[in-house]
Structure formats: C-alpha cells, structure tokens
Amino acid sequence: MMNRKNVAIVGVGTTHFADLYAKRDPARDEYGLAADAFALALADSGLEKSKIDGLICIRIPSYSAMASYLGMPHLRFVNSLEAAGRMAALAIQYAQLLIEAGAAETIAIVYGNVGRSASASYGGAFNTKSINAYDAMNGLTSPGAFLAAHFQRHAALYGTTTDALGRVAINNRRNATLNPAAVFREPITLDDYMSAPFIAEPLRRLDYCLINDGGVAFVLTSAERAQDLKSDPVFISPVVTTTDLSFRYVSEDGFYSAAQRVAQQLHCATGIKAGDVDILQVYDNFTPVVLLSLEGFGYCPLGEAGAWVAENLGDLPKVSLNSSGGHTSEGYMQGFALIAEGARQIRGTAGDRQKAGAQLAQYMCLSPIVGSFYLSLENRWS
C-alpha cells in the first residue's frame, strides 16, 4: 500500500425516492434526476463545479449530453457504464484508480434511473440471435428467475428456508420506516411476506427489488485535496472486484468462490475482518443475494446464512444491514444508494436511522461482477 494516493468520497447526493414514486411522470429523464443528485453532492462537498475534471455516468443515455447538461464540457476524463447494479462498485473503483493515477483529480459519479416512469422491465430483454434466446424459449428470462434457481439449490444443499428470505425483506422494511426518502415504509410481518404472490417460485414479490425513479451522485477526490473541504471526507479502501461471468445469470457455486476471492484480497489489503464492520450495505436486487453475500464475504460459513439472519436480523437486530431500506424498500438505485447510505452512516448524518458509533461500513455486491470495499472517516489505507 506504499505510495498509494488515498481517495475519499467528499460529496453525496440522493433524490427523494418516495416523492418521485408518488408522482410518476413519463416526461422525467435521467439527466434531470442525475443533475438533482449531483447538485446535492456538489453542495455537500463545498467544491466549485469548475473543480470537477472527471465524470462517470451510469444509466445515462449519453455522457456527452450529461456533461453538457451539467455545464462541464471540458473534462479530463469522461465515460459511461451500463445500467447494471454490478457497476456501482466498478464506478467507485474507476474513480479511485483514475485519481490515484493522476488522470483526474476530482471526479463526479452520476446515476439516473427513470425505471418507474419509463415502465422498465427486467424480464425478456434479449434478441433472438443471442445465446440467451435458448433460455427465453423455455420461459426462463429474468434475473429474478435465475436467482430463484440459485436459492432453490441453496435450499436443497443446506436446508435454507424462505423464512430466511422473509427476514431479509422484513429487516429492509423495518429500516425503511426510519428513512423519509424510502419508497415503501409500511412495516411488514412474516405473514405478509408469506402471503405475497410468487413471481418466480420460490421467490415472492417481496423478494424483489422495486422499480422506481431517482438519482444518486458522488464527488470523489484525493485525500490531499479532501483535507481542505468543509464536510467529512469518507475514505475508500482499495475497491476489489472479480468476475464469474457466463452468458446467463448463473454461477456453479452461487458466486461463492468469487466473493471469497474478493473477501480475501480485501482482507489482505486492509487487515479488516467481517466482525470489524459496523454497517453492512449488501446489494440486494433479490433477497437471496443477501444470503449468498453473507457467506461469500465471510460473515458466516457456507450454507449457514439462514441461521445467521435468524440470529442477527430478528425483531431486535444485532447487526445493521441495509440501514436505509435496501433495494426492496428504499428504492432500486442499483447499489449507488446503498453506497450513499454507507457514507452517511460513517459521517453520522443518517438521521433517525443513524447507528451510534458507526466507524466502518462495507459495500458488498455479489453478481457476475463481484465487488466490495470499506468506507471509513479514518484515513487508514495510506
């Protein structure tokens, strides 16, 4: 880790997901939502807009139009990432590497999603020349269906029950009751969970992320520059990613060994262990992913995530996991809002849902691209 230039998140911005959900608007676009979030992140950082010299866009139709919309035509670096949840850790990683390498000094990451207003659907998107058509012709088309198959296997191999999924959904919702911006804030019970209709059985509606509108933005800069800013910089550990890619959303071992590789590399780079983390921000496009993540990232042994959530996410949770409500209750910002929440918890600005004394957060994304990193106010990674 010698001579690494540490990088910090110095600005965080998120739109009000509940308000946007209440007012569906087909004319709403990604540029406007991303700009709302960016304005908040920039104000949070206290930086002049002219200091931004890099821009990473996610789920934005055109980076060129985005840069123009934000009045930043002359950047040192710009690019777009595809509209996928696995991009959130990558966006942070790219910004970190670019700043470390000196290709840019202060980078804005902007994300905009009009999923609800544009009636986005995640099932059935492929073309008939693609290899995925061989699954689609059998009616196996959606990421949710593939995650349902992974959970079915987990249940068969380890005896995991849908109660464990219910606990994850209930935990998310309980956290969302304390988040005024969360889309769904009505508490749910295990009975509510079990009576929700199946979508891709064994997954029920309450296992699914929601589809909503919103924007998230971050401003990142070097630790050096961060020192002079008004708000607390949130230092980012090395972002570690790896892949387990195939043409479909399937991994032979449920992405376990890929996540283990990330966990080990992260441990080697930082010395941090699962038990040291105060705030777990776990990518949860579908609730089974939380179980697979807890195992893969070393919070419990393989096959024991069901027992772990029963122990730690009961009526009086022992662990803070997806403290703003996660993708099933706060909103589906494809990981970006989970990272924003991690930063807020570490700064102590998470309002009613603030965990007292939170010092270390971990973002975890288990998917065909696995990614994870820690957030801390302490500049401990230089």
Binding site: G123, I131, Y134, A136, N138, A149, F198, A200, Y208
Partner: protein, 137 residues
C-alpha cells in the same frame, strides 16, 4: 414490473451455425457442437468455440440424459403467446456431456430434487420447433 407482456414470443434465429441443432431436435435428439480443432462440446450453439475460438465444428447427438441443477416455477407471463402458460416449471439441467441447459420437466414439483436423474424427449411446441422436455428416470 410491466403488467402485460409486450414481447412476442421469440425462438432463437435459425442460421448457419444453429440449423444443425434444430434439425437434430426434429429427429428427437439434443445436439451439441463439437469443436473440430480442440474437441470441446458446446451448447447453446455459437459461431466460435469458447476454448480455442475455432469456427469449425460438427454436430454430435447427445444422450439426452442429465440431472437437475435447479428449477423454478414461473408465475407471470413475460411474452405474448408463449407455449408455456404460467404457472409453469422450468429447470436448469446438467446434461451428462457437460452443458447446462434450461428445459421443462414433466413431473410434479414434489418429486424433484437437485441431482435427480432425467431423460429427455423432444416435443414440438410450435411448428418445426422441438424442445427437450425431461422426465424423471
């Protein structure tokens, strides 16, 4: 989630490197491509071998035997005019020769288990389109 499916039900395009698969299916066989350069067996059909990138391959008839990797029951329609009507069961099947394919299983869910042995029959689900449907052995 969209309430009504908007997409017409699609079958994979029949093109030079997929035609053999569909002809085999009409004859009651699941076929895979075997790379002429390195021998790797692959399915679904692709133009290139993923191992050595050769575009030369021959069709081989597979045994039609496999085992259950996992399964789900789909409760919602994603396509107009799909040959399966929700709720329908669709499995990921590990063929004995290696490839993992999706297919219907003609059995009650209660009788399924990960690893259970299966045997395929080919069924015409649309004109000229024969798909594997598995039975428990």
């Amino acid at each position: 989630m969209a309430d009504e499916p908007k997409i017409e039900y699609p079958f994979p395009a029949i093109q030079d490197y997929t035609e053999g698969y569909w002809q085999g299916a009409i004859g009651g066989k699941i076929r895979a491509q075997q790379c002429k350069a390195c021998g790797y067996v692959r399915l679904p059909p692709t133009a290139h071998c993923s191992q050595c990138l050769s575009t030369r391959s021959k069709w081989v008839d597979l045994s039609g035997h496999g085992s259950i990797w996992s399964w789900v029951i789909m409760h919602r329609p994603y396509f107009k005019h799909h040959w399966q009507v929700p709720p329908y069961l669709v499995a990921l099947v590990r063929l004995d020769e290696g490839p993992l394919i999706s297919a219907a299983i003609d059995a009650d869910q209660e009788r399924l288990a990960v690893g259970k042995k299966l045997r395929a029959r080919l069924e015409e689900v649309a004109p000229g389109r024969f798909l594997p449907v598995f039975e428990l052995t």
